[in-house]
C-alpha cells in the first residue's frame, strides 16, 4: 500500500499554546481517513501544515512522496478545503472556480466542463451564476467543497466539510464522500460529526491536545471495549462490587448512579448467576459495546458539546 499523506513528529506552537505536539499521521492510497478531535485539538492546524499554509516548528510532511515545504504547491494534485471557505465576494460561484482554472492554465472548454461538474456535485449548478457574497453559510460550504473538487484531484483534504449544512445537506455530503472514495481517491477529512465519520471513513484518527490518542478502523475503535452494565438497588451496590471482583472481573461504578460496569465477563448470564448466588438480583443488565462517541469522549475528556 502506498502512503499518500505522511506527517511525522509535527509540532506547532502559537505563543504559549502548543497546537501540535509531535503529531504523526499517515493516509494510505485509496483510503478515507477521518481526523477527529474536540475544538482546539489541532485538527485544522494539522491540515494547514499538510497543504503548506502553515509551517511546522518541527516535523516533516510528504504528500504523494513530495516533501511539503516552502515553495510546494498543492495545485491540481491535491483538492483542499481548509478552515472556513472564503471567496471573492464580487465574483459568482462559478467565477470563483474559474480563477483557479485560469491560474492552472486550463483551456476554456475544460474549465467550463469541470466548473459545471464541480458545482453539480455539490448541488450548486442552479446558483453558480449568483454573486458569492449572497450565498448562505451552507452554500458557501458547498462552494468550498466544489473548489476542492474542481481539479478532480486524486487526493482530497477536507476540513469539516459538513459544517453549516442542514441534515439533508450533511447526508448529501456524506454520500458524495462515499462516491468519491469509491472512485479510488485518497481522502483525509476532519470532522466532529462522529456518526458521519463512522459512516464514511475506513480509518479514524483521534487527536487531542495536538497528539494522536487513538487510531484504527471505526469498528475496531468502537468495539474495542465490551462491558456489561448492571443496574442495582443502592443497598446492593457494595456487595455486588465485592462479589464480581472476587470472581476476577474488572468492576467500576458510574459516578452518582446505582450502576456498575463489568469488564472481562464472558456474558451477561455469568454475571447474573454470580450475583444470584450472592443473593443479589439486578434491576437491569445490559451488554454494551463502546460506540465511537464513547471512545472519543473517554479519550479526549470532551463533555456534552458533541452533536449526536
Amino acid at each position: 500500500m502506498t502512503l499518500i499523506v505522511e506527517a511525522t513528529g509535527l509540532r506547532k506552537r502559537y505563543g504559549a499554546v502548543a497546537a501540535l505536539d509531535g503529531l504523526d499521521l499517515s493516509v494510505d492510497e485509496g483510503h478515507v481517513v477521518g481526523l477527529l478531535g474536540p475544538n482546539g485539538a489541532g485538527k485544522t492546524t494539522a491540515l494547514r501544515i499538510l497543504v503548506g499554509l502553515v509551517r511546522a516548528d518541527a516535523g516533516s510532511v510528504t504528500i504523494a512522496g513530495e516533501p511539503v515545504g516552502q515553495g510546494w504547491v498543492a495545485g491540481e494534485r491535491v483538492g483542499a478545503m481548509v478552515a472556513t471557505p472564503v471567496f471573492y465576494p464580487h465574483l459568482s460561484g462559478a467565477e470563483n472556480l474559474r480563477v483557479l482554472a485560469a491560474a492552472w492554465g486550463w483551456p476554456r472548454a475544460r474549465a467550463d466542463a469541470r466548473i459545471a461538474a464541480a458545482l453539480g456535485m455539490v448541488d450548486l449548478a442552479g446558483v453558480g451564476g449568483r454573486a458569492a457574497r449572497g450565498y448562505s453559510t451552507g452554500m458557501r460550504q458547498r462552494l468550498g467543497i466544489a473548489l476542492a473538487l474542481l481539479a478532480d484531484a486524486p487526493t482530497l483534504i477536507l476540513d469539516e466539510p459538513a459544517n453549516g449544512l442542514d441534515p439533508a445537506g450533511i447526508v448529501e455530503i456524506r454520500d458524495l464522500l462515499v462516491e468519491l472514495a469509491g472512485g479510488g481517491r485518497t481522502i483525509l477529512v476532519s470532522s466532529h460529526l462522529l456518526t458521519e465519520v463512522e459512516k464514511t471513513c475506513d480509518h479514524v484518527t483521534i487527536v487531542d491536545r495536538g497528539r494522536i490518542v487513538a487510531s484504527g478502523t471505526p469498528q475496531g475503535l468502537a468495539g474495542g471495549a465490551e462491558r456489561i452494565e448492571v443496574r442495582l438497588s443502592a443497598d446492593d451496590i457494595a456487595a455486588a462490587h465485592r462479589a464480581l471482583e472476587a470472581a476476577g472481573f474488572r468492576v467500576g461504578q458510574s459516578p452518582a448512579t446505582t450502576e456498575l460496569w463489568v469488564e472481562g465477563a464472558p456474558d451477561g448470564a455469568t454475571v447474573s448467576r454470580l450475583l444470584g448466588t450472592a443473593g443479589i438480583y439486578p434491576d437491569e443488565l445490559i451488554r454494551r459495546r463502546d460506540s465511537l462517541e464513547d471512545v472519543f469522549l473517554r479519550l479526549t475528556g470532551a463533555s456534552g458539546e458533541l452533536p449526536s
Partner: protein, 290 residues
C-alpha cells in the same frame, strides 16, 4: 506567469470600484492640466484704488501690472504646449500616487482581508503570485498614466492663448525622454512600499496607514536639519521624497547640490526593488492563518 495574469483578469475584471478609479484618475489629470492652464492664462483682476483718486495713475499702474503678468504668462505658456504638456501632466502625479497606494494595498492586502490568500496559495508558488500581482498594479498604473499622457498630448491642440492656438508657443524640450523617465520612475516606490506594507499588515486600512506614516517619516528625514554637517550629507538626496524632489525639480531642487539626478534615479529604483523583494521573501515564509 501568463496563467496567473489570466487568473488576475478573472479576479479583478468585475471590480467596478477599481475600474471607476482607473477611469477617473486620467480625467482628474486632464482637469488639473486645464485648470493650471486657465490659472496661468486668465488675466488677474487688479482691484485697488488710489487715495486721493487718480484715474490716470491707476490706469497706468494697471497697464504696467498687466504687462508684467503677460510677460510672466508667456514664459509659462510653452510648458502647456505639446510636447512639454506631457511632462506637465506627468508632473501632476499626486492623484496617480494615491491611486498607486490604493491599488497596491487593495490588491495585495485584500487577499489577506478576505482570506482568499488561502486559495491563491493552492494555485501557484507564493513568490510568483506576488510578483505577478505587483506586475498587475504596474500595468494598471501604466494604463492610467498612458491615458493621462494621451490627454496631455491632445488637449494643447484645443486650447488657445489670447485667441491664438496654444501650439504657436510650443518649444522643443531638451532631454524630453530623460525628463519623462524621471517623472515615471517616481511612481515605482509608491507601488512597491504599499505592497510590502500590505504583506506586513495583512489589512487594507492598516497597510494604507502604514504606507502614509512611512512617507511622512521619509519626508521628516529629508527635511531634518542634521545632515549638512554630518558624515552623510547626501542622505536627503536618496530618501524617497528627496529623490522625487531632485528628479522633478531638476537642478533647482535643494537636493541638486547633494547628488546627481542619476543617483536619485538609482535611489528610487532601489526604493522600488528592495521593498518588493522583501515583500516576496516575507510572503513566502508567512503562516497563512487567515
Amino acid at each position: 506567469m501568463r496563467h496567473l495574469l489570466a487568473a488576475d483578469r478573472v479576479r479583478f475584471g468585475r471590480r467596478r470600484d477599481l475600474w471607476i478609479l482607473i477611469a477617473l484618475v486620467p480625467v482628474i489629470l486632464a482637469v488639473m492640466f486645464v485648470a493650471d492652464f486657465n490659472g496661468v492664462t486668465s488675466p488677474p483682476q487688479f482691484d485697488f484704488f488710489m487715495e486721493p483718486p487718480d484715474p490716470v495713475a491707476e490706469a497706468e499702474l494697471r497697464a504696467q501690472m498687466l504687462a508684467e503678468w503677460r510677460q510672466q504668462m508667456l514664459v509659462q505658456v510653452p510648458a502647456f504646449a505639446f510636447p512639454a504638456s506631457i511632462l506637465k501632466v506627468a508632473g501632476n502625479f499626486v492623484p496617480v500616487i494615491l491611486l498607486s497606494i490604493y491599488l497596491a494595498t487593495a490588491l495585495v492586502a485584500g487577499e489577506f482581508e478576505w482570506g482568499t490568500v488561502r486559495t491563491v496559495h493552492l494555485t501557484s508558488s507564493r513568490g510568483r503570485m506576488l510578483a505577478v500581482r505587483v506586475g498587475v498594479v504596474v500595468i494598471l498604473i501604466g494604463v492610467v498614466v498612458g491615458i493621462g499622457l494621451l490627454f496631455g498630448a491632445i488637449i494643447p491642440f484645443v486650447l488657445s492663448v489670447e485667441g491664438a492656438p496654444l501650439q504657436r508657443y510650443a518649444a522643443p524640450v531638451p532631454e524630453f525622454w530623460a525628463q519623462l523617465a524621471n517623472r515615471l520612475v517616481v511612481l515605482l516606490p509608491f507601488i512597491a512600499i504599499p505592497v510590502l506594507m500590505a504583506v506586513v499588515a495583512r489589512s487594507i486600512g492598516a497597510a494604507f496607514l502604514l504606507t502614509l506614516l512611512l512617507f511622512v517619516a521619509d519626508a521628516a528625514v529629508t527635511g531634518a536639519p542634521i545632515w549638512s554637517g554630518s558624515p552623510a550629507p547626501w542622505v536627503p538626496a536618496i530618501t524617497i521624497s528627496g529623490s522625487v524632489s531632485r528628479l522633478i525639480g531638476g537642478d533647482d531642487s535643494p537636493q541638486a547640490l547633494l547628488a546627481s539626478a542619476a543617483v536619485s534615479f538609482g535611489a528610487l529604483l532601489a526604493w522600488a526593488v528592495i521593498p518588493v523583494a522583501a515583500a516576496i521573501a516575507r510572503f513566502r515564509r508567512l503562516d497563512l492563518n487567515e
